[in-house]
Amino acid sequence: MKSLSLYVERDSFIHRVDPITKLFYIFAAIIVPFVMKDLTVSIVCAAVSLILLAVGKVLRNAITVFACLFLIMITIFLIQALANINNATVVFSISGIHFYAEGMINGVKIIMRMTDMVAAFLILILTTKPSDLVEDLIRAGFSPRIGYVIMSIFQIVPHMAGAIDVITDAQRARGVETKGSLPVRIKAFLPLLGPVVLNSFMNTKERAMALEVRAFDAKNKKSFLNEAVNFRHAMAYRVLFVLLAVSAVAWRAGGVLL
């Protein structure tokens, strides 16, 4: 069965880092370039995140995600290069359309921040099992109910997609046309909604009962079958990431005050 999880099984240093430390990294990777607003910092942050993806042996998997974002990045770059409010210095022109240095620099800065942010999240998503992440969060005091919801999305949504296929086949067997032009597909989609939604409601009720009878609401402290990911230098890295973020904010605040 397909899962929504993008986790890639590899043996790497990044895979051995605990999920909470990766969350701290995401925090720092977002705060630092956004607060410092410097092109070099943005490039360095993006480069670090990409290097970490490479260390985690998941750069190739990340490229697929970046390919999806490529169009958005190009659009941002063109809009900035052509229409940034601070545009003054023309670098080159094509058919009378001027490309400005200020906008292009700002476009690259935004793209680098996006790259850094997406890569930082991908470090977490591609190198961490969703169950490890959720279990670590619950260990840290996160609600088990919310944890359950997050985890079940990874499994139950793809299964619902499978149920849609089954219902589609059943309707096709009764003569409903489900393939063809867009209007035909839309017409076929509407009768699907009733059975899928009703089926989901019924399954949800039964699953809620099944959770209850497995003591999901028991008041005692929960335990875990899987041991927590034991990353030796977790605390040092977390402190480092917080310090980086705080220093960036302090540097910016100092700059503004001066």
Partner: protein
Amino acid sequence: MKKVIVENLKYRYPAMKQLALDEISFEVEEGEKIGVIGRNSSGKSTLCQALVGLTPHFYKGTYGGRVIVDGLEIKHATVSEAALKVGIVFQNPFTQVTGAKLTVYEEVAFGLENMGLSRAEMIEKVDRALHLLNIYPFRNQNPFSLSGGQMQRMAIAGIIAMRPSIIVLDEPTSQLDPQGTEEVFSAMDELSAEGMTVVIVEHKMEKVAQYCDKILVMKDGKRAAFDTPAKVFSRDDLSELGVCAPVYTNICKALGKKEGAYYPVTLAGAARVLGARR
């Protein structure tokens, strides 16, 4: 020692006029296996839900009488509290998969995690449940990748691992092949020998007759009979109760061959009275 006491149990679903359970009373001793049989909509599943507290805590409605399992009065306990004493396996294996675990092993351990057991205890109980239900080879598979029968056995393992003193199974073998059905009943037999009390709703009469100590026959929400398989299946009014006797009993009935005062209900019993030799 009485593990289940049901006294004058009445229940009506919200917005329904007819009682789903009407003055049901019976008692079950520790380690007994009780088969619950009857027509569809006779109240079997509602009774199962009442034994674990889903009725009246999950399904609201009008409730009367008492259900006491292992000393706990269900009406005054939450479903999660009751779950520590009595487990239930439903008919549909798909909806019993939590959806929050990525492997069969983790799925079976889900209830134990909620109970707060240590990792070592969990591993011991999960291993035992997986071996008992013969699904240990699938332990690393995704729960949703299993077949209906394997999924049902995983659901049973998930409850058995919690080691409740009573287990209620609502048509657990409806999606199982004959071998899977036999494995489930043998597992129940083994657990019962260890003192676990079993209440099982089942339509496969041969299995009920072979494995259960007593049979509760339900009709229109009422208790129509509660006795040993031989006494129940020897009755003349079975068709009025919506129940078929095992095929061995029917053969012996047709030939008028009794074993003592009652007709045999198992293959071994039928072979004895018919004088079959191996």
